[in-house]
Every structure is written in C-alpha cells, then in structure tokens.
C-alpha cells in the first residue's frame, strides 16, 4: 500500500513539475516568437505550483525530509526518546488534521459554494485548493504508517 502510494505520488509530481517548466517556457515562446502572449499560462503555472508545493510537501513528509532541529531527539534514548517520538508524531498529525484537512475542507467547501472561479481559466478555485486537505491526509497517513514503536 505504502509503496504504491509513493509511486503514484512521485510520478504525479514528476509530471506536474515537467508541465510547469514547459508551461512557463511556452509563455516566453508565445510572447516573443508568436507575438501573442498566451493568457492561460500565468494562471496555470500558479495553480501547478500550489499542487506541486502541497503534494510535494506530503511526499517530503513521507521521506522525512522536512527540516527540524533534531538535537533533543538525538540526545535521548530508550523510553524518553519513545515518548518524544510519540509527541512529535501526535503534533504532526494534529497540525495536518486541523489546519490542512479540516480547515482545507472548509476552504474548499466555501469557495465551491460561493462559486469562485479563477480569472482566466474559469476553473472553480475550490478544486485548486483541494490539494490542501488531500495532502494533509497523506501527511497523516505517512506519519502513522512510519511510526515504529521503539524497543525498550
């Protein structure tokens, strides 16, 4: 399960990132070579960045790549280290659950019910913001699955 989620997530991110590069190159090319600036690239690029940033953050959480000051966790051993690890995992889940999943879902719901559309692409903004609760769920999933009870 974990491996397939990793695979789907990383391939999705590689594709999104490639599209992002091509999209902005297309913007430059259309302005200088074709003489008519493309209208959608600007907005599409910003949306892609939100998706790459948030789903990437979930991927990075799975890789334990987020920056932290690990002086204390490295110093402790045994039971104390175990308690600290539990605390860190619980707090990580707490952040992802409250702000990202609950707050994010409410944000999606609000923008969808207000029928807010993006300026040029006319995409409902709620779908763009859907990345927040989804990546919050992924962060919770990774934190729980990766939690290994330590031998005392």
């Amino acid at each position: 399960m974990r491996n397939s989620i990793d695979k789907v997530l990383s391939w999705g991110l590689v594709v999104l990132m490639s599209v992002m590069v091509i999209n902005v190159l297309w913007q430059v090319a259309s302005r200088y070579l074709l003489g008519s600036p493309s209208l959608f690239t600007d907005e599409l690029a910003s949306f892609l960045l939100i998706w790459v940033g948030l789903f990437g953050a979930a991927y990075a959480a799975g890789q334990k790549a987020h920056l932290a000051i690990d002086i204390l966790p490295n110093k402790l051993t045994g039971r104390k280290k175990h308690i600290l690890n539990v605390t860190i995992s619980v707090l990580s889940v707490l952040f992802a659950l409250t702000v990202m999943v609950i707050g994010g879902m409410r944000l999606v719901y609000l923008t969808l019910s207000l029928e807010q559309l993006s300026a040029t692409l006319r995409v409902p903004l709620g779908y763009v913001y859907l990345a927040i609760p989804l990546s919050g769920l992924l962060i919770i999933y990774y934190t729980i699955v990766d939690f290994k009870p330590q031998e005392k």
Binding site: A45, S46, L54, L67, L84, G103, R106
Partner: protein, 431 residues
Amino acid sequence: MSLTEILILVLSFVVLLGIGLPIAYCIGLSSLLTLVVSMPSLTAFTTLAQRMATGLDSFALLAIPFFVLSGQLMNSGGIARRLVDFAKAIVGGLPGGLAFVNIVASMLFGAISGSAAAAASAIGGFMGPRMEKEGYEKSFGAAVNITSATTGLVIPPSNILIVFSLASGGVSIAALFIAGYVPGILMGLALMMVSMTIAIRRKYKRGSWESIGETFRKFWAAFPSLLLLVIVIGGIVAGIFTATEASAIAVLYTLVLAFIYKEVKVADLPKILLNTVSTTSIVMLLIGTSMGMSWVMSYENIPQEVSQSLITLTDNPIVILLIINLILLFVGIFMDMTPAVLIFTPIFLPVVTKLGMDPVHFGIVMVMNLCIGLCTPPVGSVLFIGCGVAKISIEKVLKPLIPMFIALLVVLMLVTYIPELSLWLPGVFGF
C-alpha cells in the same frame, strides 16, 4: 494590548522547535494556538488554510522551483568542474591559491545557480579532495567552502531575494538582484583576505600561474556556463523577461548544456525532477505556514507594537539598525532562512523605512544576516551540507569558521551603514 498573544506565539514556537517537530509544523501550530485564543477554532483552521493557499498563489514564487531545478542539473558536475578550472586559472597562483579558487568558484556558481546548498555540494565536492592533497587542513577547507557558498544567496539570481520581494509586498526583484552584486563580492573578498592570512601563516603551498593561452582555454570551456549569467540577469535587468521566465530559460539552458556535456541522461530526469520537487516543497510548506504566521501577527497588531517599542527605545537610527541586525543574526541561528524572511520582514521593514532606509537596501542586509545563520548549528543547512561533502564532523569546523564569521560581520556592518554599497549599482541601471 496583545501581550498574551505574543507570549503564546513565541513560547509555543520555541517549545515545539526545541522538541524537534518539523519547523513548518511548528510555525503552523503556534500560529493556530495564538489564533484560537481570539477566534472560534473552526474559523481559525479555515483562516490558516486560506493563508497557506493564497501565500503560495504567486507567479514570482515559481522562480524558486526552476532555479532549484537548474541548480540540480548543474550539480551533476560538468558546469561546476569548468568553473573550478577557470577560477584556478585566474586566482590559483596566489598564496592560499586553492582557498581562493574555492571562493571564486562558489561566487561564480552562486551567480549562475542561486543556491547556496548546490554551491556547497558541487564546488566542495571538487575542492575538498584537492585541498587535502595539497596539505590544506580538512577543517579549514570545509570552512572556506561553507562560508563562500552563502555568497551565492546575495549574488543574483537568489531565491531568498525573491521571497523577500514577496514578503515586502513587491519590492522589485530586478533591483534586489542588482543590489546584491557589490555586497556579495565584498563578502567573497573578505573571505579571501582571511584565507590568505591563514594560508601564509600556515605556509600552505602556493599554486602556479597558468599561461595566458591556458587561461584563455579555461575561460572558453567555462564560457557557456558563464553565458547563462548574462542571459538570466541581463534578461531580467533589461526587462526582456520576468525572474520567473528567466528561471525557466535557465532550466532549458542548463538542460541542453548537461546533455551536451553528456552528464545527464534522459533516464536521470525523473529522479532530478523528484529531488527538485522535494527541495522546493519543503520551502513551499514553510512559505505557506509562514504566511499564516505573518498574517496572525498583523491580526494581533504585533508589527506595530514592535516598531513602536523599538522607536521609543531610541531614536538613533544607527542603534536601531544595530538592534535589528543583532535580532536577525540571533533569529538566523535558530530559524531557517525562508520563514525568517517572511515573518520578520513585515515587522522590521516599516521601522527601517520610517528611518529612511531603502527597502532594497534592507533586503540585502537582512539576507546577509541570515546567511551567517546558515553556517551555524543547530539549523545551518549549508553547514550540514558542507560538512557532509567534506566528511568531517560539525564540531571540527566550528573553530576555523570563527575568523570567517568575523570577516562576514565586518562586511555586514559596512553594508548596513553605507547604503551606497547596495544602492549604487541599481541606481546605475535606473532602478
């Protein structure tokens, strides 16, 4: 008076940071705790989620993943090696020549890639073994490499200056970029002076000068890499394209160069892209949560109160700037650069502009302060990378780092109190 809120914010942040929770979550949770005191929890959740989303919704921020990606593409070796060879041809004959080569190569690499981490690993990977072979102490070599890598954050293109532009509400990225040249070069020169003194005292081997023909050949080999600098910065300054578009062109250019040098294969691309996403999104999550925290602070009126108390404390601009510098140095030691810029810019920028300081000048001063923090424990990312590349423990590098810090602090003071150092060059280009 929002003293309770300030206390909650600062205390919860420090505690969460101390127990080892990832920094982005620390920022998010302490903002949330502060906000829950003054509004219903559900509203607080939604507000922070919204700040995260709108914080990331910026075309200017797109330059960050692209500069990271082009840095990753350069990291594969070909470009770094050619820059090192070129630097060796121009400064290799000086006393402590290899230290000079490392500093110049880092500055050049920083000038085309904009990433201190990439400079520390790419240049350090070449220079470390060479320096050791010629009898330089490993810890000294690593210290030179670590400190000189940070010049790349002041010398454009620089992702952190883009973040500052965002935090300051739209100071021109082009102006910030040009403003970074003189201070960045001064940082390099100061490090060179320290290295030369140490090299002479320890009687390190002096390299030999190369013939003019050989120097020209090295220049020619490095020329395509150096041309990138002209395209990116020239393009932005001349107003041909935006920083974001320039960064995408840099990706295309380095990709082509990496294929020509046969150092990157198509099969390597997914891995390079994924590394880029990972590095970028760590920064993006920090940006998202920091934007939340910055919003919470202005909601609680914290910037106004800090600036009020700073101004009532003293009306001497020299003292106020000194205090701000000390706070930023302290912050840089414990906080990563991106959140530090996003959180402290809204607090200090109004104070310094009231004193008549140009926002461009302040941006450079702020980034220089935080650069020093990148080389100190416990969160100095460049320190970690530099030690990792040199395969040396952090404790061993700290002592040789001290004279370098003093040199950087001297430059910081010069740049703080002589505005022309940052503002003269942008003025020449009409900003």
